[in-house]
């Protein structure tokens, strides 16, 4: 079946081609590490390996780290496995059930188009481009993926 996984992280609705989704995991503990590139604030452990977590800034209850359990889509990329934060309301939908449109002037290089399903728009992610942008150090400036945790930390420090 050709289709998409449809996910939501806060205000962000996004779609991933089904062929790239390895698994959806729940009840995962995520861990902060020092010096992570912008766009990645945490890692999780899957099958004994560290997996970078994306979109955690958009997910609910992201302010705490090691005691935070949520839902993550494990997605294959040219840079290895990535974990994309999502709410538990994710679903798999066949391509013909929705409407595809190609982004004409995409503001995000990693958004290739839009998949509209039941009146809701989901940004279709080009996961390899997304990972490349993070590897280039554009995760914060161009993608606006991150920053919430850092902002929280700065506020904490200011109030110290």
């Amino acid at each position: 079946m050709t289709g998409f996984g449809l996910f939501r992280a806060g205000d962000l609705n996004y779609a991933i081609p089904l062929v790239q989704i390895r698994r959806i995991v729940q009840e995962q503990v995520i861990y902060p590490l020092p010096g992570l590139p912008a766009g990645i604030d945490f890692v999780l452990i899957y099958d004994g390996n560290l997996v970078p977590v994306l979109f955690s800034a958009f997910a609910p209850d992201n302010s705490r780290s090691t005691d935070n359990s949520s839902c993550y889509a494990l997605v294959d990329s040219e840079y290895g496995l990535l974990a994309l934060a999502t709410e538990s309301s994710s679903r798999i939908v066949a391509e013909h059930k929705g409407e595809l449109s190609v982004a004409s002037t995409s503001k995000r290089p990693w958004q290739t188009g839009t998949f509209t399903y039941q009146g809701q728009d989901f940004d279709i992610l080009e996961i390899d481009v997304l990972a490349t942008e993070i590897a280039r150090g554009n995760g914060l400036n161009d993608l606006a993926l991150s920053g919430t945790r850092r902002l929280n930390e700065e506020e904490t420090a200011a109030g110290r």
């Binding site: 590490l33 010096g35 390996n49 560290l50 970078p52 590897a135």
Partner: protein, 150 residues
Amino acid sequence: MAGTIGRVLVFSLAEIRFVLDLDHLVEVLDQLELRLDSSRSDLRQGIVAALDFRHTAIPAVDPTLKLGLVSATRYVDRVALVLRGSEGNWAVLVDQIEGLMPADALVRATLPVLLKATPEYSDAQVMLADGVPLVVFEPERFYGINQGVA
């Protein structure tokens, strides 16, 4: 340091767990309020205070400055790990001691490609203990003539 062979110290800092080879450790100090003199600092080197250790003032380094982390724990409420260095003893201020564990309980984690691509992780090590990541704390990165080189 008899009895420490094959064991490591686990501590936390800014919600991140680190692991330290006990060969580096001289002593652990808490209740720092009367030991720290923050007027003697050199922030360019990460030194936030002088620490009174056995009637000698030694540099106390806050690793969060170099790591870009923020700890909610005040310096006086932290724990000082006194380490031996090439220029004498110095101390690192951490949030909390988690405990000791046998070194063979740690498994080296393979770093994701996205992390290995960054300078911070080009030679960094992360270990796993019961599925929990522990960052290997390398003292030479934080103080001494070779700091930042390793």
